[in-house]
Symmetry: D2
Subunit: 367 residues, 4 copies
């Protein structure tokens, strides 16, 4: 189970950074969805290394092969297995890691847990694992598109460089307009400059990604443990390098009083308009009592600065002795640009799963 | 599944605010643990209404009955069912809620999801649901105590009143020394005053709870989806009124560079001492790559101001018409003091479950 | 998990023979189903002790209390907890069992597994556990009735006394016409006589229950592991005293050749009739490739003779010494009459669950 | 979930008969197990087509590639993905199946369920799916071997040709001594002759496989739904062509009285011997109350005659019209010889999973 996500639209990822490849099996996909490898590849290309001059130069085409579950370009309802072979491997670049635990990496914890670890490029803990998520997410996004749901993740802050607060729902073009995937051009330029600076210094930075979703109907999510925000939080904290999650007003909302925080309901015909019931404000972030309320869903995810840096660091080796390590290999000085499609993929997986759950419980036996 | 939590030490809660009662069934509890109803009651008393003058005055003894799974004061390995009858019910106080959706409550979303809702006191969305979690958590805490694990949750901020930042591990006595469960006496006094003020004004406040855990060995948690921080995030965001979660350096950590954020490893014999390998700093919050690294685990949870306020609010009724609602019933102006034992309970449930998972995978077939 | 059944319509049973009571929590029940305690009680009365002169005389009203999940006589989609208090307890009748392992009972295996067991009346291994299944099954049956599905279990054989082979779909009245629940009156009379004989001799008998289901549409079940027959087999083998399961032609079908076993498909308009596509024969038992094919589902379940007998038997005690045990307590000389509603309940649980699964996968996103 | 099996040692199979290949992902495998592709290949070779003159001549090397989860010939605890490419594909041989439903095959049910099906060679319903099970089972068997557990499946009956009843635990050599995998040489010869006869006639036969397991300690299995026999029954009924399962005395045991059926316990020191407590007889089949009791486990599985025959059969086409179909393609006239390793694989998967579950519940927190 540890490598699976989702109850009904459920994925199982596998693979290591320097093994034969990485992949995913989707179990429970609805049948008859038209899908091609090209559509999946398009999402993979958004997280691909080497796509711009501010991300890792590892040369990986990340070409996906659909092994099963699609027949004559339609899903059949059978498991969809997808494979991406690893290509640009330089295991020798990681020889030092066989002996030394990289600070703030998974190395020490893996060794403690399993008594063994594939040290090459981080093995299973490599962000290459997210390829499977993005491939599966591409299918989930297409399912949601058939229901007119749109998901937009984008970088709102790199270290202390933040775009102005806004509830604008950015277009895909606005986000893809620059290498850092921040829809505010001036901020994006400053972010890119910062990333280049820290990379030149052998250092790294983190930041915040926001994700906004519109078109989700009221009623998705569960009242108690599997609240929509709980499953989104888990999805986001399951991504490498994440340290925080907040939905709607989040941590800042705790500074308000209830009278200033509550979202008043407005009748659809208020102000002479004819539309759906809505809230006057949206500090709830589109979720109340664990369940979507029909308003826009939005949340923030905190990504720490990349643990791999090109500066000498104190650490211990597998024999328990103090030593020093200087990062090598090819890494992102800032993971956020490439994390954008991953955040979208995880969001899509959560929403599809809850949609199927909702229809199972409330759409099967109807009274 | 929606009302279940945990894979191996798994709980199933049930019940509504004004139904017959609330309860929990624990499935998978280890056998032979000595346990009495009194031990469970002690934890329930920490979340009980009416325990101090800053919490809801609803009169509930919340007396627990163990219905199964315990024989001669030891767990048998069979399901442990526990029941708390509801006592102080005033359903008539909620008549208005049958027709009107309370702002920032679950009412509208439940109606959209299920087409029906038990409106009395919020029904299933009431925080009384957490009684089952605390009862189960009492058992989980006792299991962890046998491994010398200690869990301390406490209130670090109420609205803008925050205790000084610290990595002190507070004693239970320090936390229980005041009604607001903040281990810093001066701050606690200010918090209590604030809560009384806003309650007198018919308003409400939120804040932040921190939870610290020590004694967890390296190796708990899973590499990918079921990361320890992901499951903790889900556990916390599954609690009523929560809007955010951050572990270790959290959102603030995104302002640092990697060189300033990474936790250097120190050999156990550094500085002439003879102890376990440790990190010089702990911005990781005790978890790396999804797995505990043997350092102290700590995280923050944001609680929004209570949605129920005694002031008039705009809303719509079930017929879609605009209307006004003034809160009634008995509610907390600030949920944080009573949320402290709930945060601890959920933390314990996550840790016990991962401990059992770790032992299943790495302790059954040993090579 | 060990005490849970079903993925989407999922039940969790708890309780021991001589503890406070037994019960069940249903998680995932569709909302808005009209249901009353009386409807559930009616099914419980069919498995109740003391209902006739051929079953155990234990005096239990088995009165059910619905604790949650039902509001104004409709399901709300929240967990439905149901409780049956134990009444007629004679724990002292079981004192000998504290020390001695009853042959062909669960005593020894429980002790080996858990290191502890509630010996009173078999504790968790008692067939009283099935009360929760029948209560949940009553709700599942009502859900299925809304889709015109009918489930009929009945006794076809007691020891060597078998009713004539038939594919007649018996009415509930035919089955309930006698105490043994065999719809063939002459056979039923012989069965009852046999049961009385063996009971008088302090001995016991087993036999076979058949279950037939009509009205199930084609398409329920999963292609690989969760085949409909696999889940039915698991459901049946999860019942106390069962030793075998066969669907359709079963073991006897292995004596045929493929040419004599295959079920030819007939067009709905064959023979000038206008109806659905059907099979000429039904050796498949209504399931092909793990999935219902729209034909009648039928299967047989083997129940061994009751392990509790009133004759002296060789066994060992908890100290490993050889000893002798003579059964006491109140037991059925033949469990089959009371197992009939339990078989129906488990069948209903499997079908409702698969119906919800099918609608989740194929009815949510439609292309 | 529908394509997954096991809770802790959990597999996920994928692939179709004439797609790119078939495979499996194992999630939760214990780390540090030494394993090579050769060891897995050895088991796959036992189920491979073309291995003898009584099985299908489809030419498939079924060469396995381990894609992940194994590092330097040891498992790492990460998911183990394994891939077998399809080679000998003749999709044109199946053109007729695009339009016509094969009798007693999955075709009609798949079409009803999914609205689409990969008709080539049965697609997902092909027995090639079991390659993933056998590959995973090879690892499970190696885990069990480290605990001295031995699993032996073998053919006891083909149509009406049965080997003499026996409780002999056959050696692997005895089973592999002939093409039909029946450890009784004279019976095997008759079986082989029968299979050749029916194949020459374009027909098919079924039969019974028995599986015996020794070395399983008392304590595996769960008391209620996940009984060891229930999970074994599900595992077996999840195999293509199976129609029945019985454990221990099975259906025949229902003809006995309790006094003749119960297994008396014998002290380990009975008859002057010094050994473990055991039963005098073993009609329970090694399982009591759902839990292994330390005795040998044995069960029978009924396989129907292969549905594919080379004789003309009545059926309907996808337009609902009556038509005739004559089987083509390359199939087994009797699936049992190749099903033997599959039965062993599923048995191993069930046992490993329950072993890990038992250790999780009873071996993690010990009192």
């Amino acid at each position: 189970m540890p490598n699976r996500f989702g109850k009904l639209f459920s994925i199982s990822t596998w693979g290591e950074s320097h093994g034969a490849g990485v992949g995913v099996v989707i179990d429970g996909c609805p049948p008859l969805l038209p899908i091609t490898a090209e559509e999946i590849q398009a999402e993979l290309d958004r997280r691909r290394p080497g796509q711009s001059d501010i991300v890792t130069p590892r040369k990986e085409a990340d070409a996906v092969e659909i092994l099963s579950g699609v027949f004559e370009e339609k899903t059949t309802g059978a498991p969809i297995a997808m494979l991406v072979r690893n290509a640009d491997q330089r295991p020798e670049a990681y020889d030092e890691m066989r002996e030394k635990f990289r600070p703030s990496h998974a190395d020490y914890a893996y060794q403690a847990k399993f008594g063994i670890r594939d040290h090459r490029g981080g093995g299973r803990s490599s962000a290459r694992e997210t390829i499977g998520r993005v491939a599966a997410g591409a299918i989930a996004k297409k399912l949601l598109a058939s229901k007119s749901v749109e998901i937009r993740a984008f970088v709102t802050r790199v270290q202390d460089i933040a775009m102005p607060a806004s509830d604008h729902f950015p277009s895909l073009a606005e986000i893809e307009a620059n290498a850092v995937r921040c829809p505010h051009a001036a901020t994006a330029a400053a972010m890119i400059e910062r990333i280049k600076e820290v990379r030149a210094a052998g250092d790294s930075v983190g930041g915040v990604i926001q994700c906004r979703v519109r078109g989700v109907p009221a009623g998705l999510g569960e009242p108690v443990f599997d609240r929509l925000e709980a499953d989104l939080a888990k999805a986001m904290l399951s991504l490498p390098a994440t340290k925080g999650f907040e939905i709607g007003s989040g941590f800042a909302g705790t500074l308000l009083k209830g009278s200033g925080h509550n979202d008043a309901w407005l009748a659809g015909n208020a102000d002479g308009r004819k539309e759906k019931t809505r809230t006057a404000t949206n500090r709830s972030g589109g979720v109340q009592g664990g369940i979507s309320n029909g308003q826009e869903i939005y949340f923030n995810v905190a990504f720490k600065p990349t643990a791999t840096i090109m500066l000498p660091q104190q650490t211990v080796d597998i024999h328990g002795a103090q030593t020093e390590l200087t990062g090598r290999g090819r890494h992102d000085a800032c993971v956020l640009p490439r994390a954008v499609p991953i955040v979208e993929a995880m969001t899509a997986l959560v929403l599809v799963d809850h949609w199927m759950r909702q229809n199972a419980q409330s759409g099967t036996f109807v009274f």
